[in-house]
Symmetry: C2
Subunit: 135 residues, 2 copies
DNA sequence: GCTATTATAGACACACATTATCTATAATAG
DNA sequence: CTATTATAGATAATGTGTGTCTATAATAGC
């Protein structure tokens, strides 16, 4: 019951891309330089974000990654689900018994949890980070 | 980012012990009979619940497990933390940077999530289950 | 066109936690 | 004393996350 390292890399990359959004494309090697992660591995993670439509990639010289058009709407939930996958984050029961009272209770709490993450926009977090820089 | 099978077994066992609380001790073999799990494995899980003080064990003939004294106060969170362990449920960052804006945001949502699970008492769920039985 | 640069994809390997099983030991009731 | 029951240790299987290596495709600049 924890977020993977991949999600960690993805979230910090998104924050970085948001902070340096005005500068155009950024290559994987630069993005990996800010974290302890290899370029090939981070590349795989970013490809998930591309397929989820959160960022845009351009191959070739001077290429790299940048945020999608309406990047200000991207939330923590978007990134987490793009990396971890959509279906049941809290995969509590595999027997998916809809009448299971425990399942119902946990899913209720899960729903609220995900909804809260869905209100946290990375653009807002980046704005806060600008005031108290640490990256 | 999911609850383990062990937690699944623990929660259902707790629900069962709550429903049959008036009948005294219940052996592991009976408890395991209700789920697809071996007695030795379930035993290890229940030992965690014993050490967490959620249930009481009595060895020997006619022994088994029963709920602790003030069993009506036990919540889903108690059981989950007894099995999964207390420290950071959502172990997002290992670099625990307290100034990390992402860390702060996720931990805020996590706190609300855990607090909600802490309000869900198994005794209440058992009461609901009695009205709509399915176990 | 040629070359350097960059993203993408596949195969593969490794570490680690979860999920078990088996066996032995301790404690209790009758 | 015996059957029953919980506890603990050693061990194995399984799967997922993590990571590397190599090859391929696409783009910019010359």
């Amino acid at each position: 019951m924890k977020l993977s390292k991949s999600t960690h890399y993805a979230l910090h990359t998104m924050l970085h891309l948001t902070l340096s959004h005005a500068e155009g494309h950024t290559s994987v090697s630069k993005l990996a330089g800010h974290q302890q992660v290899s370029t090939t591995y981070l590349s795989k993670i970013l490809t998930k974000l591309v397929k989820a439509g959160l960022i845009v990639s351009v191959p070739g010289a001077n290429g790299g990654y940048k945020l999608k058009a309406n990047w200000k709407e991207t939330t923590l939930l978007d990134v987490i689900q793009a990396v971890e996958g959509l279906p049941p984050i809290f995969d509590y029961c595999e027997d998916h018994n809809p009448s299971c009272i425990i399942q119902q209770s946990i899913q209720k709490a899960e729903k609220n949890f995900l909804e809260e993450l869905g209100t946290m926009k990375i653009a807002d977090l980046a704005e806060d980070a600008r005031n108290v820089p640490h990256h």
